[in-house]
C-alpha cells in the first residue's frame, strides 16, 4: 500500500534578511507513514517537528526535497479536505463553537444536512454539546483544544495530523482523546501525532520517530524502541541473592539485571549452583528514558 504521508529527503532552513544567519530546521528528513497506523513524532523543542508538519500541509515550502500526502504533492489544497489538522497553540475565530465547527467543515466542502450532523456529533464526542452555542472566546484552554480537535474531525478525515493535541487537557480528557485516536485507528484512519507527552505516545503509537536538530535519530516500532538490547532481566529460583550483584530476593525468587553479553555465563552459573532460571527478558525502558538517553547522546556528540 502507498504511504499516507511521505517525506523524501526534505531539508528546510530559514535565513535572516541579509542571509548572515541560517537556521537549519530539517536536514535530509525522510519518513513514511503507513495507512492505519498511529505514528508518534517526538523531539525536544526546536527539533523540527512542527516544521515537518507545516511542510506537509503546504504552509511552508521545503528548501530541498519534497513529499506526498495521500498520494498528492505537499500543499495540494483539495487533498486537505481528506485530512484533519490540529495546530499547536490552537487559534480559532471567536464565535459559537457549533458555528465555528460548521465554518471549518464547510471550508472542507461539507454541506447540510451532513455538515449539521457531523458538527453536532464531533462536539458531542468532545463533550462540548452543552457549550455548542457559547462563544469559544470565553472557553478555557482545555475547551479550546477540544474545539480544535472537533474542527479537525468534522470532515471524518483519513489522516489526522495532531500537533500536541493533549497538552492543555486534564487527565480525564486525555483518556478520552486516547480512546478517540484508538477508535480512529480501528476505523482504518491514520494518525500522525506530535507530542511531548511521552506516556501518551507509548500507550497508543504503533511506531515512533525521534527527531533531534532536524534529523531522525531513532525510528521504529514502539515496542522495539523500548526494549533494551544491552540489559536483561533475570528471575531465578534456588540460588542465593548474594551470588549476583544487585540481586533482590522476593517471594522465593531472585531478581537481577545483567549485561547482554553475560547472558550465557550467568545462566551456567545458576545451573551450576543447582538453581533454575524462571524468566529472562530484555529490560523494558520507558519512552521517556529512551528519549532522554538519545537526545543527551546527540547533544554530547554535537
Amino acid at each position: 500500500m502507498d504511504p499516507v504521508l511521505q517525506f523524501e529527503h526534505v531539508s528546510k532552513w530559514y535565513r535572516s534578511w541579509f542571509r548572515e544567519r541560517t537556521v537549519r530546521a530539517l536536514h535530509d528528513f525522510t519518513l513514511s507513514i503507513e495507512p492505519g497506523e498511529i505514528f508518534g513524532f517526538l523531539g525536544p523543542n526546536g527539533a523540527g517537528k512542527t516544521t515537518a508538519i507545516h511542510i506537509a500541509l503546504g504552509f511552508t515550502r521545503p528548501s530541498r526535497g519534497g513529499g506526498t500526502m495521500l498520494g498528492r504533492p505537499f500543499g495540494h489544497a483539495p487533498t486537505r479536505a481528506r485530512i484533519g489538522f490540529l495546530a499547536e497553540n490552537v487559534a480559532l475565530y471567536h464565535r459559537p463553537a457549533l458555528r465555528l465547527v460548521r465554518f471549518y467543515g464547510a471550508l472542507n466542502g461539507l454541506r447540510d444536512p451532513q455538515l449539521a450532523k457531523r458538527a453536532r456529533e464531533v462536539l458531542d464526542t468532545m463533550e462540548l454539546d452543552a457549550d455548542a452555542d457559547r462563544n469559544v472566546g470565553k472557553f478555557s484552554r482545555g475547551m479550546l483544544q477540544r474545539v480544535g480537535l472537533a474542527q479537525a474531525l468534522v470532515n471524518d478525515p483519513e489522516l489526522l495530523i495532531l500537533d500536541e493535541p493533549t497538552s492543555a487537557l486534564d487527565p480525564l480528557a486525555r483518556v478520552a482523546i486516547r480512546e478517540l485516536l484508538l477508535a480512529a485507528k480501528r476505523a482504518g484512519k491514520t494518525v500522525f501525532l506530535s507530542s511531548h507527552l511521552l506516556s501518551e505516545i507509548e500507550l497508543i503509537c504503533d511506531r515512533v520517530a525521534i527527531l533531534h536538530r532536524g534529523e531522525i535519530v531513532r525510528m521504529g516500532r514502539t515496542s522495539d524502541l523500548l526494549e533494551s538490547r544491552e540489559t536483561l532481566h533475570v528471575s531465578a529460583r534456588g540460588v542465593p541473592a548474594q551470588a549476583f550483584a544487585g540481586a533482590e530476593a522476593l517471594d522465593g525468587l531472585v531478581r537481577f539485571t545483567i549485561p547482554n553479553e553475560q547472558q550465557r555465563a550467568v545462566m551456567e552459573k545458576i545451573w551450576e549452583m543447582g538453581g533454575e532460571v524462571v524468566s529472562l527478558y530484555p529490560e523494558k525502558k520507558s519512552l521517556e528514558q529512551v528519549f532522554v538517553e538519545l537526545t543527551k547522546a546527540e547533544e554530547r556528540s554535537a
Partner: protein, 234 residues
Amino acid sequence: MRPVLLIAGNFVREQRLVALLLVAYAVVASLFFGLMRDASVDDMAFVLKQELIYAIFFSGFIALSSIYNERKTRRLLSVLSKAVTRTQYIAGLLVGVQAITWLYCLVIWVGGVWMLWGRGAVAQLTIMTSVAMIAALLAAAVALFFASFLPPIVATAAAGLLVALPVAVSRAAGPVWMDSLPLYNLGALIANSPMGVRWFPAWQLLLIALLEAIAFWLLAALLFSTRDVAVAVE
C-alpha cells in the same frame, strides 16, 4: 466559489466593528447634512463626494492589515489547513473588504438619495457611487498585493508610492500615464463630477480599473502562495 464566500463572510464578521463604525458615520453625516435646512445641492454634493472618496481610502486601509492580522493571530493556519487555495483565500479577503466598503457606499447612496430627492441629482450620485465602488475594489487589490509580502507599514508606503507613480510619470511623460493605474484619476473624477448635468465617466477608465483589480488580485495570490505562512510575524 463557496470557500471564497465563506472566507469573505468570516472576514466581515471579524471586522464587524469597523463596518459598523463606517455605516454609523455615513448615517450620521447624511442625517446631519440632510436635516440642515439651508444646505444647497452643492454643499450636499461636496459632503457626498468626500464620503465616497473616503471609501477608496478605507478599502485600502482595511485590506492592508488583513493578512498580517490573520498571520499574527495564527488563525490563518486553521483556514489554510482546509481545502482552500491561497488564491481563494486572497479572493475571500478581497470580497470581504469590498462587502464592507460597498455597504458603506450603499449607505452613502441611500443617504444621498434622501438628501437630494427632488433636486435632479440622484442619477449622478448613482454614477459617482459606482465609480467609488470600482475605485475601492482597485485600492483593495493593490493593498492586498503589497500586504501579501510586506508588513502593513511598509505595504502602506509601497501602495502609496505606486498610486502616486502615475501622477509623477504623467508630469514628465504626458497625461496618458495618469490612466496606467487610475486610482488617483477615479478619485479626481468623483471630486470634480458635476451634479446638475448628465455626466458619465469614460468607460475605458472603469474597464482598466476592473482589469487591474483582477491583475493585482492574481499577483497577490501568486506571491502569497510562495510565502511561508507559518513563520511568526512581529
